[in-house]
């Protein structure tokens, strides 16, 4: 059977841009690594209209110049998730899409397996090559400082890298909560390419890699971005974490209900028949 790695990403039906929920994060990034800040604009990622495929984005840009010696480690940039989409589309999407249209699966194409992630000089077929910060827009009525923006349409498969079935149903995202603070490296950066975690943004997953040479951040690669349905997964070589295993054993805790493979109707009928036979005897 074809071994195809599939990644489920969440796509927005309309706009799909990465926006930082916290204007403080954006301000810090602008200050420390000069992205989207003073000087030449780095190009824009336009909000998508109909979900017809990858959107043309700005041209590949010159590497960002760190503005100060205490450059932020770029990896934490990936930890700032997207804010909620403008609320006018949220309810419509939820109702219209019935949860399914918002899932897209992508496979790792063969040619991408050969691609060298560390070769950051390559720009992939016209696609974006650096992370940009479009103007932060706060959805009306939503606290823009929240990391997990509160007014998200339900249901949706991902609003966090972890499972979205919330184990604490009473907990709502705290609109006043601060986002995870950026890790600011006080000394120079180590040379190399550093991947940020693959983060679930509302519109999909975002993953960046920071390329450092000469102790400075010289480029930021986009490894995964939700707007590109056909973009081959560059992290197809990424080794999965070792998954935890255990021997199954009988549990005797209180439970409310059991999940199991469906008893077929035939099985049920046989079982019922046997039960009735007992009842009759």
């Amino acid at each position: 059977m074809k071994q195809t790695f599939l990644t489920v990403v969440v796509l927005a039906a309309s706009s799909a841009y990465v926006a930082f929920a916290n204007s403080d994060i954006r301000a810090r990034l602008e200050r420390d690594i000069g992205i989207g800040a003073a000087g030449r604009p780095v190009g824009t990622i336009a909000p998508s209209g109909p979900p017809s495929g990858p959107r043309p984005v700005g041209p590949a840009v010159a590497p960002a110049q760190p503005a100060a010696s205490e450059a932020d480690v770029a990896a934490p940039m990936a930890t700032a998730p997207a804010s909620a989409p403008p609320p006018d589309r949220a309810a419509t999407d939820h109702d219209r899409l019935a949860g399914l249209d918002r899932l897209a699966y992508r496979s790792g194409d063969g040619h991408d397996d050969d691609e060298d992630d560390d070769d950051h000089d390559q720009v992939e077929d016209g696609a974006f090559a650096s992370l940009v910060l479009p103007p932060v827009e706060s959805p009306a009525g939503a606290g823009s400082s929240t990391v997990q923006a509160a007014p998200l349409p339900r249901p949706r498969p991902a609003d966090a890298p972890q499972a979205s079935a919330s184990p604490a149903p009473a907990a709502q995202p705290n609109p006043g909560a601060d986002p995870a603070p950026l890790q600011v490296a006080q000394s120079g950066l180590k040379n190399g390419t550093f991947r940020g975690p693959s983060e679930g943004a509302y519109y999909g997953r975002v993953q960046v890699a920071a390329v450092v040479s000469g102790g400075k951040l010289t480029n930021i690669d986009i490894l995964d971005y939700p707007n590109d349905r056909r973009r081959s997964q560059r992290i197809s070589q990424y080794s999965l974490p070792v998954l935890e295993q255990e021997a199954v054993s009988a549990q005797s805790a209180d439970i409310d209900i059991v999940s199991g493979a469906t008893l077929t109707s035939e099985a049920f009928i046989h079982s019922l028949d046997a039960a009735l036979a007992k009842a009759r005897s």
């Binding site: 969440v10 949860g99 399914l100 979205s164 184990p167 999965l240 805790a253 493979a261 077929t264």
Partner: protein, 248 residues
């Protein structure tokens, strides 16, 4: 209020917290009866069977049948064909989609009636909402593939869904390791946790069809966790699964 009824050829259990009236459950059970009448692959007069026999054309289908067919096609494309409702002998069997879809809609009916704390379970798939009568997240047990009377894992779900796909049920016989079917994959049971039962259901089905790679697929899927049990009794979990273990 909690009740189990047999509809769509399977036991369906609904629990609604905060009422002693059967009324909100009745509405949901009536919905399942309607789904059964329309989508049953066993009732000769169901819309599905008439469609499969060619007695109704595509253009004459109900809105709900159209919706299911569209969802099925979407899923087929998105899972690279691993999930396909087409039957080898012709016609379609959308049962794998209908169940999750029907459960989700039933939950919406109950919530819409003003009951945010409930679960709807049908044939081993469950959509939970809110809190249990004990004022804590719903506790869902994963049935042992080796003993139908035992549970091998307990997970806590607030508002979320659990679906299990497995091949350990053979008619009235639970899994017979000596049966000769088309080479079974490594997994005997895969349980998927997702926000929405419709997604959990079809992802569990698709993952199960993928064989060994099914768990990797689920690991890479956003917002989804899974617990896969192999035939040797070893279970493997996705990296975020443990967030759903009971806290106390």
């Amino acid at each position: 209020m909690r009740e189990t009824r047999i509809l769509m050829g399977m036991p369906i259990t609904i629990e609604v917290v905060g009422t002693r009236s059967i009324a909100p459950l009745e509405e949901a059970f009536a919905w399942f009866a309607e789904v059964d009448a329309r989508f049953s692959p066993y009732r000769p007069e169901s819309e599905l069977m008439r469609f499969n026999r060619g007695e109704i054309g595509r253009s004459a289908l109900s809105g709900e049948m159209d919706e299911i067919l569209a969802l099925a096609e979407e899923t087929r494309r998105e899972t690279q064909g691993y999930f396909d409702i087409a039957r080898p002998e012709g016609g379609i069997d959308p049962s794998g989609l209908v169940k999750g879809w029907a459960i989700r809609e039933a939950g919406r009916l109950i919530a819409g009636a003003g009951y945010p704390n409930h679960f709807v379970e049908a044939g081993g798939d469950v959509q939970c909402a809110g809190l249990s009568p004990a004022a804590r997240p719903w506790r869902v047990g994963i049935r042992s593939p080796f003993d139908p009377m035992q549970v091998v894992k307990v997970i806590e779900i607030g508002s979320g869904a659990v679906a299990t796909s497995g091949d350990y049920v053979r008619g009235r016989h639970i899994y017979d390791p000596h049966s000769r079917r088309a080479a079974p994959g490594r997994w005997i049971s895969i349980t998927v946790i997702a926000h929405d039962i419709y997604d959990a259901d079809r992802l569990a089905t698709a993952a199960f069809a993928m064989g060994d790679a099914g768990l990797i697929f689920l690991e890479q899927s956003a917002g989804v966790e899974a617990y896969a049990i192999a035939r040797d009794g070893m279970a493997t979990m996705t990296s975020g699964f443990k967030a759903h273990l009971p806290k106390c």
